[in-house]
Amino acid sequence: MDIRPILSTLHRHKITACLLILQIALTCAIVCNGVFLINQRLQRMDIPSGIADHELSQIKFAYIGDRPDAYAQAQTDLATLRQIAGVQAAALVNQLPLSGYSMSNSGIKLRPQQQRTSLEVASYYGQNLLATLGVRLISGRDFQPDELVDLKTALPALHSDDMKNLPHTVIIDQAVAVRLWPGQNALGKAIYFGNDIPMQVVGVSSPLARPDSLQMGAQNSIVFPIRLTATEGGSYVIRTTTGDREQVLKSALAALKRLDPNRIVLERRTYDELRHEYFQDDRAMAGMLVGVIAALLIVTALGIAGLASFWVGQRRRAIGVRRALGATRGNILHYFQTENFLLATIGIALGMVLAYGINLLLMLHYELPRLPVIYFPVGAIALWLIGQLAVLGPALRAAAVPPVVAMRSV
């Protein structure tokens, strides 16, 4: 189809055509970046926790008054939990991946006297942690019972530089091993914490996500051989089959309350619920973006349809003349479709440049990565489709203009 007549018509409606192009360009730019943002959120929500998501539940208590027998109580509690039908394993842990509540982080140094820390990691500890959470050991070994230090002993030891009562071994996860010693065996290597407290890597586990601050490396985690109690902020974690999780959680809570009724339940949830809560802001943001993009596309479609029907109305006579001179309905239909395609293409081209500019701004202010090239064709196809759909109605009406219109004066 010859596009010259279309161009000369558009030339006579410069301002309107420019406005339409501008609208398509802006829509294209916002849609490209919006879809990219949505995808970023979805990817974030997909981060593997590294633990048996669907088989775990958490119970957390708060206690009134001091508990001198807390360590003995913790042992009794864990033993009781293990005896409940359906409980495969039970642990006391300081924090859980993706819980948004980060209790403990550590800076790792590779050499004593090192100025800057090499890596900031989340530090996990507790009783029976790896086995219960379902974190595999890739190499090395789990902690021996005699390696475990009580938190109430370790903390004062830490503050007074008393090396004897501090743990000497550590298990790091694969992400940390790769970061610290790329291509080497991490087992047996030494790392340093705080004022050069040395610890030996005895095991490398499968990746384990952090509780929070995912931007610092989502899976940079280590495990210390430290025991803690629920009074020191620990949570009971039980592992069951997915099906009877709710049921077992209920009986576990009842059993623990029977052992010591004087505690307040702070948390009682399955790990899936915990994970759902952690990502709820991302989910809300993604939902909002979807809403705005949909509204934007609808407004643009309506705008295109409105202008197109205005043009059709204005050119009724010209259409009639063309029909009288032998143009088929198809010719008229294609005329309007091609016109829209031309405008959309110019708009999209401009929109790509704008999209890139907006992305640069977002990178500057919101720590977003560069917009991948794949989003450009996605935005282009979306706007071509919207444009063609919007123009179809008015174009069909134009094609239906009878040739006899040419004979009538307005």
Binding site: I30, L158, H159, Q280, M288, A295, V299, G306
Partner: protein, 434 residues
Amino acid sequence: MFGYYFDLALRSLRRNKALTALMVLAIALGIGASMTTLTVLHVLSGDPLPGRSSTLYAPQLDPRDMGDYQPHGEPPDRVTWIDGMNLLQAKRADRQALMTGGSVAIQPAQSALDPFYETARYTTADFFPMFGVPFQYGHAWGTPEDAASAAVVVISGKLNDKLFGGRDSSGRMLRVEGRALRIIGVLGDWRPNPHFYDLNLKSYGGDEGVYLPLSTSQDLHLAHLGGADCWGNGGDGATPAHTAPCVWMQFWVQLDTPTQATAYRQFLIHYSQEQKSLGRFQRPPNVRLRNLMQWLDYEQVVPGDVRLQTWLALGFLLVCLVNTVGLMLAKFLRRSAELGVRRALGASRRALFMQLLMESGVVGLAGGLGGLLLAYLGLWLVRRQPADYAPLAHLDGAMLVMTLVLAVVASLLAGVLPAWRACHITPALQLKSN
């Protein structure tokens, strides 16, 4: 003339219902989305203590060791126990308060209520007069109670409603973590948002139920809430020891004049130098003295997502306006014949321009009203979100007026180009072609 133009505008808009509806819809959607996000931004970036905020300052020191030292870095945003106590006792400001957050178990006397946890603030006495905290019943504690670690407590109005049905509970006892504390005051409506004095807890909607003297909280070994930033062998005990190399206390001062603020900054530098010569500090003096609003800005208290949403909504409004300009241009140019007749009969360009602008103003007003409804709907949706600021998202009077003004101004702007184009049509040409 105004009434006549208004009437003309209504007639003309009625003549082309579909196009009018499209324009109103576009403006309503754009305004609705923008006002929803602008309202959230307005609520979140508001001044928590209007009238007082310019005299309140958060001093910052750098007590850390040389590990990870970078020149020109920012000092920590909290203070250590020792520095807090030193600055408090120096009394160099008009008022000063050292505080931290906590969480305490409350055991109600009524057996109908189970024990529950309440967020608490452990603070020195100046907290109440410095922040202008209103009291419903009773009064705050003073320096003597601080010094004596008195077993007294001030509770929020909300907790008073829960425990005592809103009656004056001052003088009664409250069991906190197994100890009996005497209630000496009940707060009135005190919900500063953002929760500026402690942003380590929830930034919004984080009002405490229980306030007690800092000294008392330490004597009773009450649990600290809000974490600690430690260096060296600080470790990460939930409640750091007083000598631990950890920052976990908030320190606020009131300085009534800029001169005093300058003097206080000097004092902080001198203090840092003194601590360095004593060997306690290792880094060169690195102090900050931000006032409340600067502090909120520095802490980036408004969530990045909210700002992003505002930009997105404004972009959306822009598209809606471009859309309206296009539609209006089409509409006005279609009426060239009518406008030509009016010109030929003696109407000035100015008169035509005003008439057309009135039409776009009416569209804007209708769009604004629609946008207002959509903004109410949008804010209702925001309130259903899980974020901790969500319950605060309400439209106030100022934002309501702003919605309508923004809608009318935006549509007038959108009308300028089409109206200008339309009233520059040669009347003779229009008359002839008809």
